[in-house]
Structure formats: C-alpha cells, structure tokens
C-alpha cells in the first residue's frame, strides 16, 4: 500500500517534469536562481534522445503496476525496478552536485521518493513468506 502511494507520488513528480520538458517551460523553482532549469536543460537531462524525466515516469508506472497487480512476480519486479531506479538516481544526484553544480528540488523529491520506494519494495521481498 505504501509502495503504491510512493509510486503514485513518483508518477506525479516525473509526470510534471516530462510535461515541462515537452512544453518548453521552466519548472516552478523554489531555489529561484534558475537552478531547476540548469539541471533540466543540461546535457544529462536527455538519455539516448529520451528525457530522463520520461524514463523516471515509466519506471514509477512499472513499479506502481507491479505493486497493485496480484502477480507472484509483482513484488520481485517492483523491487528490482525500484532498486535500479535508486542506483541511477544516486548517479543523477552526484551529477547535480558535482558536475552541473545546481540543485533541482524536483529531482531531490524524486530521489527521496525512489529511496523510500526501494526500501519498502525490497523489504516486502525480504519479509514475504512462501507458506
């Protein structure tokens, strides 16, 4: 349940950033000094021609479906995608801090969300019993 809610939050954040990318507008930015824009328009914001935000949206959607669809592999898939997403988001956070040198609050929010998601989905796999 918590995992599903977190995945929905992730969908909202990544969905907003995907929309911002395709609409050619600036994200709402608390930092105010164009930090969000600097991150969103950096060369790292696009991965093989696909906006990273869209990849995040797809990952969150996959996790959400995997947590609500009653399939025996659901929990495993959710945990694998969440963990991979968490690792990739560690790399993206490192880029923000040390390469782009600008922080986007939306990316931070997504990083926190995916961290919690990775924790909850992996714990679900660990705690599940076969009986």
């Amino acid at each position: 349940m918590l995992a599903a809610l977190l995945a929905l939050l992730g969908i909202a954040i990544a969905g907003y950033l995907t929309y911002v990318h395709y609409a050619g507008i600036s994200p709402v930015c608390v930092a105010g000094s164009g930090s969000c824009e600097r991150v969103q328009t950096s060369e790292y914001a696009v991965f093989l021609g696909v906006p990273v935000a869209l990849l995040g949206l797809l990952a969150y959607a996959t996790i959400f479906l995997a947590t609500i669809v009653p399939h025996p592999l659901g929990a495993t898939v959710a945990a694998a995608v969440a963990l991979a997403g968490w690792l990739f988001s560690l790399y993206l956070t490192w880029l923000e801090l040390f390469v782009i040198e600008a922080i986007c609050q939306w990316c931070v929010a997504s990083a926190v969300t995916i961290t919690l998601l990775a924790a909850t989905t992996v714990l679900r796999v660990v705690a599940s019993t076969d009986a």
């Binding site: 600097r38 991965f47 694998a80």
Partner: protein, 249 residues
Amino acid sequence: MCGGCQPPIPFMTYGRDVTGKRTRLLAVVAAAVAVAAVAIVASIVTSSSTDKSGELRGASEVRSLMRGIPQRGYTLGRSDAPATLIEFVDLQCPYCAQLARDGLPAIIANEVRSGRLRLELRILSFLGPDSQTAARFAAGAARQNRVWQFTELFFRNQGRENSGYVTEDFLRKVAGAIDGLDVDRALAFSRTPESEDDLERANSEARKLGVTATPTLFLVQGGGRPRQLALSDLTAEAVRSAISAARQP
C-alpha cells in the same frame, strides 16, 4: 514410535524456503545493479559522444534543444517573436562557448521555443585563422538553416585556439552530427567568396554598434534601436536580468 521426533521433511522445506527467498533477493539486487550500471555507463558515454561519429560532445543535447524551432539563415526562433536578441560571437572564443553551454540552452528551451524571443547570430572572426575557417563553414550551414546547430556543437568541441585544429576533417566531424545538413555543399560554399561576404557584413555591423569583444548581446524590440546587454555573468539568469534592464525606457 518417537513422540518427540519430527519427520525431516518440514525442516528440509524450511531450509529451501530460506534459500529460495535469499536467491530471489540476490536476483533482485543483481538485476537492479546490472540495469543501473548499464544505464549509468550509457549516460556517461552518450553525454559526451554522438551516435554518428565518435568523441563529439553534446550532439544529442543540441539535437533535442533545437528540434522543432524554426531557423532561417542566422535567425533562430519564430519570425513573429516580439523581441530579438542579437549575439556577436567568435567561434574560438571560450566565453562564447561558456554562454552557449550554460546560458543559452534555458533561453532557447523557454523564451525562444515559446515564441517570445528570437535569436540572431553574428559571427566575427577576429581571434585568428581558425575562426575564419569556422565562420566561413558556418555561412554554408546558414544557407541550409543549420547554423545554430553548427555553432552550438562547435562551441562544445573547441580545440586549442589557433592551433590549426579547424581542418576539413574536424568540420566534417562536427557537421556530420547535424540532421539535414549537406556537409559537402556547406564545405563547397565555405570556399566561395560569397561566404566571406557574411564575415564582412558581421564585421561592419560590429563596427557600427561598437562591438569590441565577444560575446556581446543586443536587445531589439518593436523596431527600436539595438540596446546592448550588460552581462554580469554568462548564465541564463544573468542574460534574463540584462534583458529586463535593457527593456527599461
């Protein structure tokens, strides 16, 4: 009959349960690490190279930055945009490169893409022979409405100033990553006297407006005279505040 003995089977099943769970967890972690590693490596490699030729920086960034924005000659953006930003650059100038990397992408993605601003490039070549070779090729790219992709890519791949690095091979490598640019045609044009006319036009406009350094930007609004921007930095925020300041009567 041994009342206290338990048949061995449940114990063995319990052992298999733990092993099964551990295997599943390991599989999850291994799959996640593998996928993430591939993605991270791909991101690093593609952020500094192109799929068309090796070792070219920024190709996919420039491609997606410019996609769908109208371009005519040296102008980027819609022709009915209410304001124009004229940018004087030298292709070898490192500060122009910094502006291209740090300042312009946000402006292009935002104000230019939404039709509020259009950009006009004026390419000077005072830094040396490599600047001239590059500028003449840029003239060829402008004839095919691709000069902005060319200059943005050039800025992200500058070599050592006046080391003679702007060779035909170098130009082919940079221009080869631009969709819709006929490199042979642009090269041929760059060797004609007509390409030098573009340089002369840019130089004389620079003299008229008192441009002595690059990058220098001017704001033109509603047919008014060009107003030079006072840039405090080479970031999008600095360009935007300079534009606001230049708008004051």
